[in-house]
């Protein structure tokens, strides 16, 4: 599991490697947002009737809301009328029936990114849904998954083939009016993944969605809905990249997870949106609402995230622990460098008896970046014997960066046991000396210490992702290590 420090050193000095642009003819909406655009978008996606109404409801609620300003972030005002809310490669107009029909240029893009879309060259059997700007390009292993009854497809396809399922669950975890960005997403979301794991099924392979923003002047608004029915299990991975551009692009996604009795969902993210250059120009605004509900007893939802990209991250993956004995977990490494800003953390809402949650958040700030942990642990009166353990540690590299911790603890149940710990420090001289004394170079020593700092989180990631995450860590800290 330990990518040696040599690997990391090789990666240091490497620039953002996924920053290329794919030249494609696209079908885009003109910039701007009004009711007509929402309707047009809905028509484009061939939404069922209820969906159009649902979107319009979201749009109306969005109009009454303000950009949230409570986070420890400085955000240039966003002109929502300057964004194009739909962009798709022209070649996908008719919808390719199989992988062979997909535009080779698109396949090339994913190949370059190292995402396996060809089922024969499978990587440890991961089923992938590839989302390119506003549409899903391809979903692999669908047949194999359907053998066991697992539905894994783009959400637009799910709306066509399984509207009753989508209707039953969509917006039940994150309602349209939940917050400003969720409302915007509800109105204009274009694609995303839909997963349904039937009762008692253990999903035979890892499911994965790969998001790519390519077109300029667009935003990406995807919506993911994962339902794990009673006693089922699924592990889901999410990755993302974008080209290097001087403008800031908005990515406002919503992820909803539903775990029924005894079900378990493991959701892992390696977020590597373009972070902007060393002067803070460009980069993605990553404003994401992620929430899971443990609806049934003994259910479990686990979030693992490695956040290295994006100019600004605003993201709080949360668990609502409704079921008795339900478990929520959050493991996070957030790395910021140059002028990146991150305000991220988790919310654990304890409602069921004996519900347990763990939050492990590691922040690494370098350059002139600012990173904040913001979290809430709330124990309702009904949550007898609730248990939470929270640990957030920050590592500072350089005297121009900032690391902040804003935990909120609200407890209404005397039998609850809540622990919160936070610490902030730089790499200590003692640790460095210890490594140097054993013959390691300063660079190696720092890499090793940083990797050790993040280990608790990395060990929660599926294998392939763990390797990628470690590599990303090296790139993101380029210039600040040593």
């Amino acid at each position: 599991m330990s990518a040696s420090s040599e690997n990391i050193n090789e990666l240091i000095g490497e620039k953002y490697k996924d920053g290329f642009v794919t030249e494609l003819e696209t079908d885009s909406f003109p910039p701007g947002l009004d009711e007509q655009i929402v309707r047009a978008l809905s028509a484009k996606k061939n939404d069922p009737e209820f969906m159009t109404e649902w979107r319009l409801d979201g749009y109306k609620q969005w109009l009454t809301m303000d950009n949230p300003d409570w986070a420890q972030l400085s955000i240039e005002p966003i002109d929502y009328q300057a964004i194009s809310y739909y962009s798709a490669p022209k070649s996908l107009e008719d919808g390719p029936k199989s992988l062979d029909e997909v535009d080779p240029q698109l396949l090339e893009t994913y190949k370059k990114l190292g995402i396996p879309l060809g089922e024969q060259e499978r990587l440890a059997g991961v089923a992938v849904d590839a989302v390119f700007d506003s549409v899903s390009v391809a979903t692999t292993f669908k047949d194999k998954l359907s053998e066991v009854g697992v539905i894994f497809c783009p959400i637009s396809e799910a709306l066509r083939d399984h509207p009753e399922l989508v209707k039953k669950y969509l917006g039940t975890v994150v309602p349209q009016g939940d917050n400003f960005f969720a409302a915007l997403n509800s109105a204009v979301f274009t694609d995303g993944s839909f997963v349904y794991i039937p009762k008692g099924v253990r999903c035979p392979m890892e499911l994965s969605t790969y998001f790519r923003i390519n077109a300029s002047n667009t935003g990406q608004f995807e919506r993911t809905l994962i339902i794990a029915d009673e006693g089922s299990y699924v592990s889901y991975l999410e990755g993302c990249t974008a080209p290097m551009r001087d403008e800031n692009q908005l990515h406002a996604a919503v992820v909803e997870l539903v775990a029924m009795e005894g079900a378990e969902i493991k959701y892992s993210t390696v977020q590597n949106w373009y972070p902007g250059d060393e002067n803070g120009v460009g980069g993605i605004y990553n404003f994401v609402t992620k929430r899971g509900e443990c609806r049934g007893a003994n259910s479990k939802i686990s979030w693992t995230q490695v956040e290295t990209g994006s100019a600004i991250t605003w993201k709080y993956p949360s668990c609502v622990l409704l079921g008795d004995n339900s478990v929520g977990e959050f493991y996070s490494v957030a790395v910021t460098n140059n002028y990146q800003q991150a305000d991220t953390g988790s919310k654990m809402i304890h409602i069921g008896k004996n519900s347990k949650s763990t939050i492990i958040a590691k922040g690494i700030s370098a350059g002139k970046s600012q990173s904040s942990y913001r979290g809430l642990v709330k124990v309702a009166k009904s949550a007898e014997n609730a248990r939470n353990y929270t640990q957030c540690d920050s590592l500072l590299m350089g005297d121009k960066c900032g690391a902040h911790t804003f935990p909120y603890v609200e407890v209404k149940q005397p039998s609850a046991q809540i622990e919160h710990e936070a610490s902030t420090s730089k790499i200590s001289e003692d640790q460095l000396f210890f490594c140097l004394q054993r013959g390691l170079s300063a660079d190696d020593a720092v890499s090793m210490i940083v990797n050790g700092f993040c280990k608790e989180v990395f060990k929660e990631l599926p294998m392939e992702f763990a390797v990628e995450a470690q590599a990303l860590l090296g790139i993101s800290l380029e210039g600040s290590v040593g």
Partner: protein, 444 residues
């Protein structure tokens, strides 16, 4: 909304009525400050829970009442209450319903050049010094209660200690609220100017007639000079129907030491603000205990701002909540750019003793420097079953065992008090919170 308008209008007209009689009303500079403050207050009113800093404390009950200052204080003072809280070892200044009572006070012997006076008199005799110092420790803060206090303050303590001087004894401030026909308002403003190398120990004691409803809105400013040493203890044992806002704002110069201990037992709705700014190698220790029951609400809000290198801060607050009480702890540590080698530690431990009690804790770290060591921890829990069992196995019934353990949890904070008779006074207050069998004074 209408209600808000009414209450600010009410205080605006109160201000106009009292304008001529307020302390230092003949001073032009003070008048400007007061006018500005009442103007701010009229615009903004009391803080609302929509403000992040007031998120868990709704001061609506204070807005619903109309508190008025009372002029005549002589007849109704409960002398026994006063005696019961007086410290043998300390000199004292006594304030009754916000007015200085000279005959009940024991003013200290003063070193040369030192001033220890009530604020109203000091405004007459040391106007220039006050003009230069008043409001200087407020860290550019503003909220409803600060404006409210600045507009209305009637009296308080003023201390000036020149270089390397010290008072021979600790100084106790006794704030007594009496039983009146109306819900009365006391607005105390204290100012401590402690010059280089000087030291002082101050004890604030807040008591009130049981069962009576009143409002205390107090502000204390401390300007701590280089190498100065200041020790403060605040014992708040107000009537359970009263409202209390107490803000302490400190500016610490190089190498100064500030120790603060806070004990909150009384009050229906209590908010303590404690903010300090640290310059090079300054040192601060904040300790607190809040033990409340019934429907009490107590909010402790601390902020430590490290502005320069090498400063150290330590903080520990403990909360015990029973019945339907609600406790709030917010501790914020800010390390500003360049404040390298900062060492900061904050702890908050809370015991919830009943199904309907609630605690909201919000420790915060904001760090803009890299060579620092900062940590904070929060726990919420209950008494350890094994410890209870241990005591039970020695023949102590469970009720008694629980009381003993709860008392021990609280007593850790009381044990930190050095002054013997103050420790005893606080312990007595603490024991009053344990009406059940179990804790006997002889154990102490």
């Amino acid at each position: 909304m209408n209600q808000d308008l009414k209450i600010t209008d009410f205080y605006q007209s109160e201000y106009e009525k009292q304008r001529g009689n307020l302390a230092g009303s003949e001073l032009g500079w003070l008048k400007v400050q007061r006018e500005q403050a009442i103007k701010n207050f009229s615009e903004n009113g009391f803080p609302s829970p929509r403000e992040e800093e007031w998120r868990y404390t709704n001061v609506r009950p204070i807005e619903r009442k109309q508190f008025t200052s009372v002029a005549d204080i002589t007849s109704t003072v409960d002398e026994a209450l006063l005696r019961g809280h007086r410290l043998e070892s300390a000199d004292s200044l006594v304030f009754i319903d916000g007015q200085f009572s000279a005959e009940r006070s024991d003013l200290p012997q003063l070193p040369e050049g030192a001033v220890v006076k009530n604020m109203a008199d000091a405004l007459a005799s040391h106007s220039e010094l006050l003009e230069a110092k008043l409001g200087r420790a407020l860290h550019d803060e503003s909220h409803g209660f600060l404006d409210f206090n600045s507009a209305f303050f009637s009296d308080g303590l003023f201390i000036y200690l020149p270089k390397n001087s010290a008072l021979s004894k600790p100084l106790q401030l006794l704030f007594v609220s009496t039983k009146q026909d109306v819900a009365q308002l006391s607005t105390i403003r204290n100012l401590l100017v402690i010059e280089e190398g000087a030291s002082v120990e101050l004890i604030e004691t807040w008591v009130g007639e049981a069962g009576h409803c009143y409002l205390n809105a107090a502000v204390t400013e401390v300007l701590a000079g280089e190498n100065s040493s200041i020790k403060m203890t605040k014992l708040q044992a107000e009537s359970n129907k009263s409202y209390h806002f107490g803000g302490t704002y400190v500016k610490q110069a190089k190498h100064s030491i500030f120790n603060h201990q806070s004990f909150s037992f009384g009050g229906a709705l209590v908010r303590n603000d404690l903010h300090t700014g640290l310059r090079t190698a300054a040192d601060v220790t904040l300790d607190g205990l809040f033990l409340v029951g019934g429907r009490q609400h107590v909010d402790n809000h601390t902020r430590i701002s490290h502005t320069q290198p090498h400063a150290t801060s330590r903080e520990q607050y403990k909360g015990i909540l029973s019945d339907k009480a609600r406790g709030v702890f917010q501790g914020r540590v800010i390390v500003q750019e360049g404040a390298q080698k900062t060492n900061s530690e904050m702890n908050n431990h809370n015991l919830l003793l009943s199904d309907n009690a609630e605690i909201d804790a919000k420790p915060q770290l904001e760090i803009y420097a890299d060579d620092v060591k900062c940590a904070h921890g929060v726990t919420v829990g209950q008494l350890d079953d094994e410890s209870i069992f241990f005591l039970q196995s020695r023949g102590i019934d469970s009720e008694r065992a629980k009381n003993m353990l709860t008392f021990a949890f609280a007593n850790e904070q009381v044990e930190k008090i050095e002054l013997a008779d103050l420790k005893l006074l606080v312990q007595e207050q603490l024991l009053k919170q344990f009406p059940q069998e179990g804790i006997e004074k002889e154990w102490l």
